[in-house]
Symmetry: C2
Subunit: 150 residues, 2 copies
Amino acid sequence: MTVNSKYLVIRNPLGSGLHQEGKRLTKQRLKVLNLFENIGPGNHLSAEEVHGKLIASNSKVSLATIYRTLRLLVEMGLLNERELREGGHRYELLSNDFPDHHHLICIRCGRTEEFESHKVIEEGAIAAKSLGFKLIESSLNVKAICPNCL
Amino acid sequence: MTVNSKYLVIRNPLGSGLHQEGKRLTKQRLKVLNLFENIGPGNHLSAEEVHGKLIASNSKVSLATIYRTLRLLVEMGLLNERELREGGHRYELLSNDFPDHHHLICIRCGRTEEFESHKVIEEGAIAAKSLGFKLIESSLNVKAICPNCL
DNA sequence: GTTGATGCAAAAACTTTGCATCGTG
DNA sequence: CACGATGCAAAGTTTTTGCATCAAC
């Protein structure tokens, strides 16, 4: 873990979180979460890609359910939603063991570089704490123009 | 300016930037940029809202042109594109006099709080510089759960 | 057995594109 | 007056929704 332990966030497991809100643990929800756990944190998938991968592994889950499930998992703090490049939202597993990462993005060609920063994560944690929010994840997007496009 | 001067970014005016690339200064492009200058930095509009406001002021610009123009102005570094809440992209004026701002967002209800941070902006500037990018804008998105939703 | 979840197909929301015409440089 | 930009309408993408049926609790 690269972050000072006082900023640690505990992310809840699926079953207990669902029951607390009168929601149900279905095969479909498990399959979607398992898929993200198998590919690990740091890999992002679109709704369409999640659907494709599940179909490919002989799991029939409808695209509508994928969308409903992704939203649910985001609200539970298990997945993170972000928009990189074009083509809709992408989702990735949130994990205590994988540091939050940031993006440097060229506004001309879309070239994207990842980087990490303890200071940024601490600043996010301080902002959350000061307003009484429970921190889930921080990500800095830096818009810039890459050497090639300059 | 809240940022150390070594991180200052010069944002180019419209006319000269367009000519450099063989593009033309049209009434429509001026109207869109003027609209953002009139409402000032820190206010974000969707493509639909830009269209509505121009129509309301007796300027007939088609929605297709709005989309084409917004993309152009983003690539020129004059506007910033971001995704807050649902409902598509939103655009805001980039200004040297208005500090970059960050968002603390509740993943349950969407409640959003803005904050500023010198340290975050410096970290973004350092990341850009280290890879030879020209900095345009940095914004930190902090995902969290607000006190009401906890 | 209740009530929440799913699947399907239709619709909505957002954005892009082809093409004839217009207007800037 | 050439070539980039616009307007319009049509099409493309991504996401949501209504409703009958299914299945978790």
